[in-house]
Symmetry: C2
Subunit: 454 residues, 2 copies
């Protein structure tokens, strides 16, 4: 069967729409048969809910699952809602164990139970192995499709083990080696299997230095290992170091995307599921808390301003510079915070040299503060034709940039220290507090200055 | 050789520092011998420049390269500066072709030329094949370590080809099949090689549906393909579809990180290299443009305010709400922009249904605007004990949130349309313009209101 890869363009989407309207199932079936699952998932995401179901129901059970798991969560949910348990059971039956567990895990408890009972015992068993693990742990990502052989068997025998599993394990890059207790003791690459004489014992050619991960480890740890040691798949072990699953390179990429989405979401005050979310209510719900938090936070800023009403009445022009003051505090804070958060995420920044990082940020803040302070100070001095005032505004800006730099760089490090997601240290939360500090510094300094003057 | 994986903690770093001070090379050599390249790279990043060189010079040429390529660019640069051409030549000699090209590509032209001449002809040839490709293309990422066989040879013969390349090609997961003109026509998994009878011809078991990428394609396209079709490695072809290179799963992950860094950097007005950058000047240089842009942008906002000085003099309290007005415009704009940018990056948002996306964002903005407008309106009404003014401020906030939502969602789509990085549509740039619009809407509405009243 010749599978074309296709990019979903407006025309294709239109054609499909027309076929659906005309009920031209043959044309659609032809399209589905010759397309890859990932492309069909892409296509389906571009359609309207009712069209999605129509297309999806045309898929063969074997193929349907592969398409389903490629579809973005919110859209996937919508489709699953429309499918009867029989169809879902057929799909779960065909899926790899990890995908099957994900699909069943997302079902309402009652449906999940029914499906688990309906599938073959073998699949039931797999689901019962995988479902207990929290979604964001190695166990929650792992699948059960791997090949393990004993260290003391010959390559010839091992190859028969591989042959027996060839259907089940699609992408096979390494064979893992276990001892009599099922403990992971090594790995053999397919290359060595192919090239070494078959009469050798597995332990004679295996590499004993196999990196594995505990099933309960956080998924961030999975990414960290895979990225650091360029692992194509990672064996998952239980607390007794017994081999119980495998995580593949594409799962790792999915987790990376997930973690990045999470960080970016916190930076902006959104939730990543939104990207494919279609319900206005749900999106609004996701963003509203951040907006309301900002309202009340900035009302504190408003309150700060009220305390300087006298100065403002005296020189109304001082209010002209609120935007620049707040923007500078916000931006320099975000800059510092973003670098630290990103560094912590990729592992390039660690708590080991947190002090050096802070010190570096302080030096940068001082330098940028001096330059920006000079620029703004001169402009304000001329604008209000009051050099003294310009000097004060410039000095205020230096302090503001240093202050928000310090906050921006230290908050994520502190959060990390207490195992809270450092990304919380960016975004609306911190920029709001920076606004408050910045206005206080700005208005405070100026008020002192005005008093000293008169 | 038993390689331990180790996490770099403060203690280890301290120990190494002490060894270096004591000049205890034996202890260090032992540590280096039993550690993985990635861990050593990590360790070296934690040391001071002079310590780094000291450690690095203790490494064997074979190992040194693997460590070097794992070190973050800015630190790597610092080390390479300190190495003589002979050492660099030895290192380049040992590296995989893609890594070798990266190292040589980063050298100053003169040194690069000297190294290219110094290495073996074979390596020289490889470098001359790879160096012409721009860094951010498939050709710029690809390596030359792959195995290709003719479609009409037997598996037995093909296996000999693999044997001949077993040292060169470390991680071998697929064998690619080419025709007499070197055109890519299929792939065979190692599993099939292992399990199918050796007398079969390659074309009898090969999968003709092999996904490949053109050497000149953008690296984003590489990520897109690998992610979408879960590819463990991607064959790279020239304009005649001749197989010329391969991209591995770990290269793909590196590119993903790179692209994410790029987007996040634009969101915050930083450059990602900063994470490991140590020179205050360089970091400052990276961030200053954004800060200065913000200064001048917000001075436009200041100018907007001056136009409403009369209203402000009339009710100074109006200035209290500048922070909340600007924050709301900024945050809701960033929320919309971030979702669109992230969606475009992962491919979950496409220009195909840009209209639907905008419409969705508008509905969300209206809903959130109504809620936030109501909240702020009531608060302001009571605060200034002026319900009318509260009503206007509330209405202003609705318009502001809708306006910045529209800008936030549409700017990235427009940028994408013109093949500019959509991430430019987030960050300082857009939040500044939102500040200007927001203040204008707020002050404008209120001024109209005040006039109508008196």
């Amino acid at each position: 069967m010749a599978l074309k890869t296709r990019t979903i363009d407006g025309k294709l989407v239109e054609d499909v729409r027309d076929y659906i309207e005309q009920g031209n199932e043959n044309a659609l079936k032809r399209l589905l048969d010759e397309s890859r699952a990932a492309d069909l998932a892409d296509l389906i995401e571009h359609l309207k809910p009712n069209e999605r179901i129509f297309i999806f129901k045309l898929l063969e059970p074997e193929g349907a699952g592969d398409v389903l798991v490629e579809i973005e969560p919110p859209v996937q949910e919508g489709i699953i809602k429309e499918l009867d348990n029989r169809t879902i059971t057929e799909i779960v039956q065909e899926l790899d164990s990890d995908d099957a567990a994900d699909v069943v895990g997302d079902l309402p408890a009652k449906r999940a139970k029914e499906v688990i009972e309906a599938v073959d015992d073998e699949v039931t068993e797999e689901l019962e192995k995988l479902l207990p693990y929290p979604e964001d742990t190695a166990g929650g990502i792992m699948g059960l499709e791997f090949v393990a052989v004993k260290a003391d068997v010959t390559l010839r025998d091992a190859i028969e083990t591989i042959r027996a599993k060839k259907e089940e394990v699609e992408n096979l890059y390494h064979i893992w080696v276990v001892d009599d207790f099922g403990k992971l003791v090594g790995l053999v690459s397919m290359k060595d299997f192919l090239l070494e004489p078959p009469h050798l014992k597995v332990h004679e050619i295996m590499n004993p230095e196999v990196i594995s991960i505990n099933a309960l480890a956080d998924q961030e740890e999975v990414v960290h290992l895979a990225r650091k040691y360029d692992l194509v798949n990672i064996p998952v072990v239980d607390e007794h170091h017994r081999l119980i699953g495998r995580i593949t390179h594409d799962d790792v990429i999915d987790v990376i995307e997930e973690e990045v989405d999470e960080d970016i979401s916190l930076m902006a005050g959104v939730i990543s599921e939104e990207v494919a979310e279609e319900s206005t209510i749900k999106i609004s719900k996701a963003r509203l808390p951040w907006l309301l938090m900002a309202i009340f936070g900035e009302l504190v800023a408003a309150f700060v301003i009220t305390n300087f009403e006298a100065s403002l009445k005296q020189i109304i022009a001082l209010t002209f510079f609120f935007p620049v003051i707040m923007a500078m505090g916000g931006n320099s804070g975000t800059q510092a915070a973003t670098i630290v958060v990103r560094g912590l995420a990729t592992g390039d920044v660690s708590l080991v040299h947190a002090g050096r990082r802070l010190w570096r940020e302080m030096r940068v803040a001082l330098l940028n503060g001096l330059i920006c302070g000079l620029v703004l100070g001169v402009i304000v001095g001329f604008w209000l034709s009051d050099p003294g005032l310009g000097l004060i505004v410039g000095m205020a800006l230096i302090l503001i940039i240093m202050n928000s730099g310090l906050i921006g760089a230290s908050v994520p490090l502190v959060l990390k220290r207490f195992n809270i997601d450092p990304a919380l240290g960016t975004g609306p939360f911190v920029s709001t507090s920076n606004d408050i500090f910045s206005l206080f510094i700005y208005l405070g300094l100026i008020t002192v200055f005005l008093h000293s003057r008169f």
